[in-house]
Structures are given as structure tokens and as C-alpha cells.
């Protein structure tokens, strides 16, 4: 079976690096980007199995990017990772089309598990 392809979007280098390496060591193929707009286009151009995106990105909020993806018809599961954790943000993120929401600080194993859940629960028509 093919390696799952994951897209990680975070402007903080440390977070992006950590997520990338962690997912790679869990057997995924990872692309890491730092900009929301770039991510928006890239996700539409290439097929990913799961997307991890930070809430606070320069220029666009993570949930805005998600909204645009959904508007463009992209069904890929998206997990929003964020250090901002008030209830309103979470609700808004989920309502904008995100599949899950993970707070910072996070546990690497937990994120990997959640990513696996999204892969597992995806409808098979990609």
C-alpha cells in the first residue's frame, strides 16, 4: 500500500519540523509549507490524505484556508492545530469545515493517532 501523503502547514519552523519528522517516522510521506495561500493552491494541485494546518498563519487564518478548500470542493480531512484554545475558535474552526482540532501544547503520539484516524475513516472514493 502506498505511504499516506500528509500536508503540514505551519509558519513556525520548529512545529513544522517536528510534525514532519514525527509523521515520517510513522511511515508517512510529508510535505511541509509555511504559507496559507501556498498551501491552498498546493492542496488543490496534489492529492493528500490528511492536512494539518496551524490556526494562526501569516496572511490567512487556518480556518479561512479550510473554508476556501471546502468551497472549492476539496474533501481532504483537515486537522487544525492551534495554540489559541477558546471555545469560540474551536467551534468556528469545526464549523468552517475542519475535521478535528488539536490544541498546543500537543503530544506527538496523539497527533499521529489522530492522523491515523482520519486516514482510517476516510470514505474510499478519495
Amino acid at each position: 500500500m502506498n505511504k499516506p501523503k500528509i500536508l503540514v502547514v505551519d509558519d513556525e519552523r520548529a512545529v513544522a519540523f517536528l510534525l514532519r519528522r514525527a509523521l515520517e517516522s510513522a511511515g508517512c510521506e510529508v510535505t511541509a509549507l509555511a504559507d496559507g495561500l501556498e498551501a491552498y493552491e498546493h492542496a488543490l494541485a496534489e492529492r493528500f490524505d490528511v492536512i494539518l494546518i496551524d490556526h494562526l498563519l501569516p496572511g490567512l487564518l487556518g480556518q479561512e484556508v479550510v473554508q476556501r478548500w471546502r468551497q472549492a470542493g476539496l474533501g481532504t480531512p483537515v486537522i487544525i492545530v492551534s495554540g489559541v484554545s477558546n471555545e469560540e475558535d474551536i467551534v468556528r474552526s469545526l464549523e468552517s469545515g475542519a475535521s478535528d482540532y488539536v490544541r498546543k501544547p500537543f503530544s506527538v503520539r496523539e497527533i499521529i493517532a489522530r492522523v491515523k484516524v482520519q486516514i482510517r475513516d476516510r470514505p474510499q472514493n478519495g
Binding site: P58, G59, L60, L61
Partner: protein, 492 residues
């Protein structure tokens, strides 16, 4: 004989300008120290903890609104998103003849209410009060037209918290602006009566969902010139004056006040074009007369953004208005000049402000004409005069560079291109805006004091700011944030 007079006069002007530049440099140095010590507290004092703390003083945000139907709901939403634990937003509809009230009612599901409040400051009649049924603490005051100051006073009367922020509908505040300002109140609850914030030009910046998401410099010369001015005023001058206990202007568009103090002095005055400076001076005078220990502070970390004029016409009207306001204030508080009863403010800050903000432009204007003519026609000896003129220009340049340096800490314009542009405009300020501004100031000296007030401005179409990146401009220009202070002599 004529020769001597002309020559003396020339030298007088040149030395005057040099003196002014030295003063600016001194204040800039004080600003540097003020900003440095502020920095330690901002970085390490856990200011952010105040956001979730119960002891953070509650603030009432008062937004006067005249025909703001287009943007008022967005503006309120943007304020509601500020990171601050306890606040209420009071929109005061000053007898608008558009559907400002209707928009507010719809946007915030407002319902009529009534509650008793003291009319501590007399205002025009308040017709109706509304409250929002949504979780946002928004109150709408519907009243008869009375002008901006009257509207703010009504908002103050209705407010329930001990502190209020006077602001305009089109200000965009940084999320933590209120916290940084409120910190000064908490540090010294008893003495602090007012805190002024840092206003920056919004032009050229990207605004999304009511927040500035990307900071960049505007494109046109006139906007750039104002950026440079604002930097000079808000970073080189105010921190220094504040440190010396002589902050003479708390911006009307971004100032937080103790409700008790403002009520004690009678609220904002309505027949005034520079009502924010007037309030600050009044507070100084009142508490010094009362011999009560007080302080008025400036917070460079409390940042708010606003649109600045993009056309010469609008800019001219704004500056003329400011300067006329300044003249009113100077006349009103002339009794404080060199009056030891008013301490450092009366003996040093106020006279120096008048000398370099009011008198200087006239002299400078005269100088720009007189000096070259005198040099050319031989009335002035170039060997002596030229070096002096160059010194004056050099000092001016040094001051401008100093202010850019102070601005560096914010890191907004750190790339090469921005630096170059800022530098160019700082230096080139001497050609263009400075002269025009001075001319406007001179013109404003010949003025009839019975001129119009706030509401009327709308009809003359003063506010057409039109910038490409921000929400649609309100039909009414907000009262300028930094009031009469800005100007090429840029200080205070």
C-alpha cells in the same frame, strides 16, 4: 541699518530653528530611555496574564457615531474581539440621519432598555437606550445631535465602568492594545488619570476580520510623509514627554481615561476643534491647582491603526483644523505659561510646546523665504550663515533618523526597501510636506473662531479617505488621533 536688522532677524530664525532641533533631540533621548524601560516590563512583566485576570480594570469603550451606518457594525465587532476580560462597548448615535441605529439593532439583536444613570456631564437629550441580547456587551445610546464631544460625554454618563476609552469608529486596535494601556492604571491606580496610546497610519496595511494582518508602507508620497510624521510624534516625542510627566496630548481617538477624573473636570468641551488636547491640558491644570498627585502616561505598546488622508485637499483641511484647535488651546491655557504654579508643565513643557509647535512654523516659513533671498542679495553673509543652516538641517536629519531607529523595535518595516523609502521620505520631508504644512499653519492664523464643529464636517465632505485594503471609509473623517501635535516640527 536695514542690513543689520535683516541680518539679525535671519540669525534669530536660524538659531531658533537650531534650538528647536536640539530640544527635539533631547526629548528623543528621553524617549529612548522611556521605551527601553518599558520594554523590560512589557517583555517580562507577564502583561498577558492580565487578559485572563479578574483584577484587570473594566473599561467602557465609547464610540461616537454620526452617519456611520456603513461600517459601525464591523467596527463594534472588531472592538469586541479585543483581548480584554471585562469591557462594554457603548455606541453613541449622535442624531444621525442615516440608518445607523437600524443597522446596529439588526446586527446585535438589540432591545430597548432603560436604567438610571447620572447625567454627571450635561449633554443633549438622550432619547433611547438599547442593549444587545447577544453575549456581546453592547449598548446603543440614541441621542440628539450635539457634536462629537457631546456624544462622548453621553457615553461617559451611561457607562458603568470606572475607566473609559474614547475612540473613533474607524480605528483598528491591536488585540492587546487595551491590556498594554490598562497596565499603567493597574500599576498606580490612585494617581493615573489618563493613558494615551500609539497611533499608526493604516494606509498600505492589510486588514482582515478587523485585524491588521500585514504591515507595509503605503505607496503615495503624501501617505509616506504622514507615516514618517506619526513615527516621529508617537515614538520620538511622546514617550519622552510622558516620562517627564508632561504628556500634553492624549489622543482623542485612542485614549483611556479615568471616568472620575474626566467627570470631575466637566467632560469634553464641544466648542473646540482640538478637544483631545484641551482635555489633557485641563486635567493637568485641574490637578495641579488642586495640588493632587496625578499622572498622565503614554504607552507605546498600546497600538491602534487609522486611515490617514490620501489627498492634499483632505490633508489640508485636517491640518488646518488641528492647528486652529491648537490656537484655541493655547489661548485658553495661556495662563499656564511660565507659571510656577503648574510645575514642570507650566514652566518648561507648555512654553516649549508653544514655542516649537506654534511659533516655530511661522518663523520657519519666514525663514524659508527670507534666508535664501538674504543670501542671494548679500544681506546675509554666507560664510557664517551657511554652516549654521547646514547645522540646523543636520540636526533635523539626525532627529528624523533617531525616530526611525526608535521605531525599529517594533520591527514593522525591517526589510531593505522599506528602510530606504522611509529614509528617503524622512530626508525629503524638508522638501514638500514641511513647507506645505507650514503654509497651512500660517493660513490658519487668520481665522474666525466662530467656525463649525463636528456634525457639519460631514456635509462638506471632509472625510473621503478611500484606501484599497481596508473596510469602506466612513463618510465622516474621525477627529485626528494626534491632534495638533503633528507637523514637521514634530514633537510632543
Amino acid at each position: 541699518m536695514l542690513h543689520t536688522i535683516v541680518q539679525t532677524f535671519n540669525f534669530f530664525i536660524i538659531f531658533y530653528v537650531i534650538g528647536m532641533q536640539i530640544q527635539i533631540l533631547v526629548v528623543a533621548t528621553m524617549s529612548y530611555r522611556a521605551l527601553a524601560s518599558d520594554r523590560f516590563v512589557t517583555r517580562h512583566g507577564r502583561i498577558q496574564d492580565m487578559i485572563t485576570s479578574d483584577t484587570t480594570p473594566p473599561i467602557s469603550i465609547v464610540i461616537p457615531a454620526y452617519n456611520e451606518a456603513a461600517g459601525i457594525a464591523d467596527s463594534v465587532r472588531s472592538m469586541a474581539m479585543l483581548h480584554y476580560p471585562n469591557m462594554e462597548i457603548i455606541v453613541v448615535n449622535d442624531g444621525s440621519n442615516d440608518d445607523t441605529v437600524q443597522r446596529m439593532i439588526e446586527a446585535f439583536d438589540m432591545v430597548p432598555i432603560d436604567f438610571p444613570f447620572r447625567n454627571a456631564i450635561p449633554t443633549q437629550k438622550i432619547e433611547r437606550l438599547y442593549k444587545s441580547r447577544l453575549p456581546h456587551p453592547v449598548v446603543l445610546v440614541d441621542k440628539e445631535n450635539g457634536g462629537k464631544s457631546d456624544a462622548i460625554n453621553a457615553g461617559i454618563n451611561v457607562s458603568k465602568y470606572p475607566y473609559f476609552m474614547a475612540t473613533d469608529a474607524d480605528m483598528v486596535l491591536e488585540s492587546e492594545a487595551l491590556i498594554h494601556a490598562a497596565r499603567h492604571f493597574v500599576e498606580d491606580r490612585e494617581r493615573t488619570v489618563a493613558v494615551g496610546g500609539n497611533v499608526r497610519p493604516l494606509n498600505g496595511c492589510e486588514v482582515r476580520l478587523g485585524k491588521v494582518t500585514k504591515v507595509s508602507l503605503p505607496r503615495t508620497a503624501i501617505e509616506m510623509a504622514q507615516v514618517v510624521e506619526y513615527i516621529r510624534s508617537f515614538l520620538s516625542a511622546r514617550p519622552g514627554w510622558s516620562r517627564m510627566g508632561s504628556l500634553l496630548i492624549v489622543s482623542g481617538a485612542f485614549g483611556i481615561f479615568s471616568k472620575a477624573a474626566v467627570t470631575e473636570v466637566g467632560g469634553f468641551r464641544n466648542d473646540h476643534l482640538g478637544e483631545d488636547m484641551e482635555m489633557t491640558m485641563r486635567l493637568h491644570r485641574h490637578f495641579r491647582r488642586k495640588k493632587q498627585d496625578y499622572r498622565i502616561v503614554y504607552s507605546a505598546d498600546a497600538v491602534a491603526w487609522t486611515e490617514v488622508p490620501v489627498t492634499w485637499n483632505v490633508l489640508k483641511k485636517q491640518r488646518v483644523r488641528w492647528h486652529r484647535g491648537l490656537i484655541q488651546v493655547i489661548w485658553q491655557y495661556r495662563g499656564m505659561i511660565f507659571n510656577p504654579r503648574y510645575g514642570f508643565v507650566g514652566m518648561v513643557a507648555w512654553p516649549s510646546f508653544i514655542a516649537f509647535e506654534f511659533i516655530a512654523p511661522v518663523l520657519e516659513f519666514t525663514g524659508w523665504i527670507l534666508v535664501p533671498i538674504s543670501l542671494l542679495t548679500g544681506f546675509l553673509n554666507p560664510e557664517v550663515a551657511l554652516p549654521l543652516v547646514l547645522i540646523a538641517l543636520l540636526l533635523g536629519t539626525a532627529n528624523s533618523i533617531a525616530s526611525l531607529y526608535l521605531d525599529d523595535r517594533f520591527g514593522y518595516y525591517s526589510d531593505g526597501r522599506s528602510t530606504l523609502r522611509l529614509l528617503m521620505y524622512t530626508l525629503g520631508e524638508h522638501l514638500g510636506l514641511r513647507q506645505r504644512s507650514v503654509w497651512w499653519r500660517v493660513r490658519s492664523l487668520f481665522w474666525n473662531p466662530k467656525k463649525k464643529v463636528w456634525g457639519d464636517m460631514q456635509r462638506t465632505g471632509v472625510g473621503n479617505l478611500g484606501s484599497k485594503t481596508s473596510p469602506p471609509p466612513s463618510p465622516l473623517a474621525s477627529v485626528p488621533p494626534a491632534s495638533s501635535v503633528l507637523g514637521p516640527s514634530g514633537d510632543s
